[in-house]
């Protein structure tokens, strides 16, 4: 294998960014030669392995065991490290989700390989990986190059398009079991409380509607209107830190340097001034719309479209218009 891609799954469902990474890896392998391998770890996750074939993997290592049902670092890292040692890929790629980020770091550190985290682009230069990542909170970019035989990178969601799935595609599924002992694992998961059921995650969202301190007059109504527009557009709801700190909305919605970094096709900012720390989180959106009652607000200088007005009027009016158009 020349490239190995770690496919993240939770409860038997792949994280969508896994396929984006796999799709990009396919184009890299086509230049590099060799085989594109994927690894799927869990219990009862053969469906995910088959999906990996349909998205472009030549070989999928399907590693299943009841002890691997939930993600734990030590046993998962042992599996990936064993594959790398056995098959010597040049590049190993991970989605930059919370769990996979940890896994990528542990694997790369154990194997003494360089790691570029949170990459936004990948290419090959002289047959080696060149990984572009934002640094200084998005104010600078660097291209990371690697010393040594192995390069590891984690890739942010929505950096690459989701490839077209081809259910008829041929590929090999190689089944195996755990590598490390299945008892005496140092990590014991006591409970898990799902909090995001049915919600579109901010990092995977194509459309985000965010609210800021501009809702201060009536935060409950403000975020209700924002939520209605979000739902009409099938997007995810975001917020500025000021709105989170004021207790208008939960932290998990925060976009920005100390919140989530997002890359939607459309970002609608309502009642957000456009502080530099907020821009660090959404500056890479394809289209930015700003709704603000202050024509001088800095958000307008990064926006593609702007409306100067009261969000309590503009947001519901926009919602009504989209309802008409989207049926």
């Amino acid at each position: 294998m020349s490239i190995l891609v770690y496919i993240e799954q939770f409860d038997g469902k792949a994280a969508p960014v896994s396929w984006e990474v796999l799709g990009k890896a396919r184009t890299l392998v086509d230049q590099l030669g060799g085989k594109l391998a994927a690894v799927v770890i869990g219990a009862g996750v053969e469906g995910v392995a088959k999906e990996a074939v349909s998205y472009g993997a030549d070989v999928v290592h399907l590693v299943e065991d009841p002890s691997l049902a939930a993600f734990r670092i030590d046993p998962y890292a042992a599996v990936v490290e064993d594959l790398v040692k056995t098959h010597s890929p040049k590049i190993v790629l991970f989605p930059a989700t919370a769990r996979s980020r940890d896994l990528s770091a542990v694997v790369a550190c154990d194997l003494d390989a360089g790691l570029a985290a949170d990459c936004s682009d990948l290419s090959l230069v002289d047959g080696g990986l060149a990984a572009v990542r934002p640094v200084f909170s998005g104010n600078l970019l660097t291209t990371v190059r690697f010393n040594g035989p192995l390069a590891v990178a984690s890739v942010r969601a929505r950096s690459f398009p989701t490839p077209e799935a081809n259910p008829g595609r041929a590929g090999e599924i190689v089944k195996s079991g755990p590598v490390a002992p299945t008892t005496g694992i140092r990590e014991e998961i006591k409970s898990f409380e799902a909090t995001a059921t049915g919600e579109v995650s901010l990092t995977d969202a194509k459309i985000i509607v965010s609210g800021g301190r501009g809702v201060a007059k009536d935060p409950e109504l403000g975020f209700k209107l924002i939520k209605e527009l979000t739902d009409t557009l099938g997007g995810a709801m975001g917020a500025s830190r000021a709105a989170v700190d004021a207790g208008y909305i939960a932290y998990k919605h925060q976009v920005g340097q100390t919140g989530k970094v997002v890359r939607p096709d459309l970002y609608i900012a309502a009642g957000i001034s456009g502080a530099i720390q907020h821009l660090a989180g959404m500056g890479n959106a394809k289209i930015i719309v700003a709704i603000n009652k202050d024509a001088e607000a800095p958000i307008f200088s990064v926006a593609n479209y702007g409306v100067v007005g009261d969000l309590y009027e503009v947001v519901p009016a926009l919602n009504a218009e989209f309802k008409k158009r989207l049926g």
Binding site: C109, L115, E313
Partner: protein
């Protein structure tokens, strides 16, 4: 119980946009330098753990002499002991090099039970130091931690916020814990604390003190190299202001424009 908090000195986030690629490459950054904002939460949690479980908190940083200011900030918030890890051989370390330096210092300082870090630095942005440190120390790793539930019987139980929800997990000590901002409300440096910090004598440990070889850290050991540091392309767009006679007409126009952009 021994707690160590790892902190980094980073540019003030409001001044990040002013930092040029050349400044970043040379490392000679003109911006105001502060305690990495995420590390305020780690320092606070160290102080809270000291209150809850007893023991000592030590704050450490890998950085040049001026990084002492970040340690003093932590002292001003109530931390009693600090160590600066500074040697020309440390310059240019990648995350694994930084982790190796921290791991050696933590071992030398005496066995630590819980090592706290921030979620990430606002300059390097990698979030790799905590996992690197855990591996170098043979410790368990807990990231995205929003609550430390308990420490007892050689184990630590925490809550972590992951994409799909909240996980409660117990791992063996020692553990490297990288904290999320939901974990606490950092206190401010106190007046008394600032006075104490001004007078504090902070030991400096060098390569030799840590028993590290020069080849194991610094530029030469780095497996990942930053090349072509540059400003990202500016957003080329000129804002189109949408304004019609009524709010409804404005909304209709905007909706049409966005449909035409094919982003909906």
């Amino acid at each position: 119980m021994n707690f160590v908090v790892c902190v980094k000195q980073t540019p003030d986030t409001a001044e990040l946009p002013k930092i040029s690629a050349a400044e970043a490459v040379s490392g000679d950054i003109k911006a105001t330098l502060v305690l990495n904002p995420w590390d305020e939460f780690a320092v606070e949690e160290g102080l809270l753990l000291e209150d809850r479980f007893g023991g000592d908190v030590t704050v450490v940083t890998v950085g040049p002499e001026k990084a002492t200011e970040a340690l003093k900030d932590a002292i001003a918030r109530g931390v009693k002991s600090a160590i600066l890890l500074d040697d020309p051989a440390f310059a240019g370390s990648d995350a694994w090099g930084t982790a190796a330096i921290l791991a050696a210092a933590i071992k030398k300082n005496g066995p630590a039970d819980v090592i706290l870090t921030g979620k990430m630095s606002v300059d390097g942005n990698s979030g790799l130091v905590a996992p690197g440190l855990a591996r170098k120390l043979g410790a368990t790793l807990l990231t995205q931690v929003t609550k430390i539930v308990d420490i007892s019987g050689g184990k630590i139980t925490v809550e972590r916020m992951l994409e799909e929800g909240r996980e409660t997990i117990t791992v063996s000590l020692p553990a490297v814990v990288s904290v999320s901002k939901e974990i606490n409300e950092p206190r401010y440096p106190s007046f008394m604390g600032i006075r104490k910090a001004a007078k504090a004598a902070i030991p400096v440990w060098k390569l030799g003190d840590l028993g590290l070889s020069a080849g194991a850290v610094g530029t030469g050991a780095a497996k990942a190299n930053w090349t072509d540091v540059r400003k990202p392309p500016a957003r080329s767009s000129q804002v189109v202001m949408v304004k019609e006679a009524t709010v409804d007409a404005t909304a209709a126009k905007l909706a049409d424009l966005l449909m035409a952009e094919k982003v909906i």
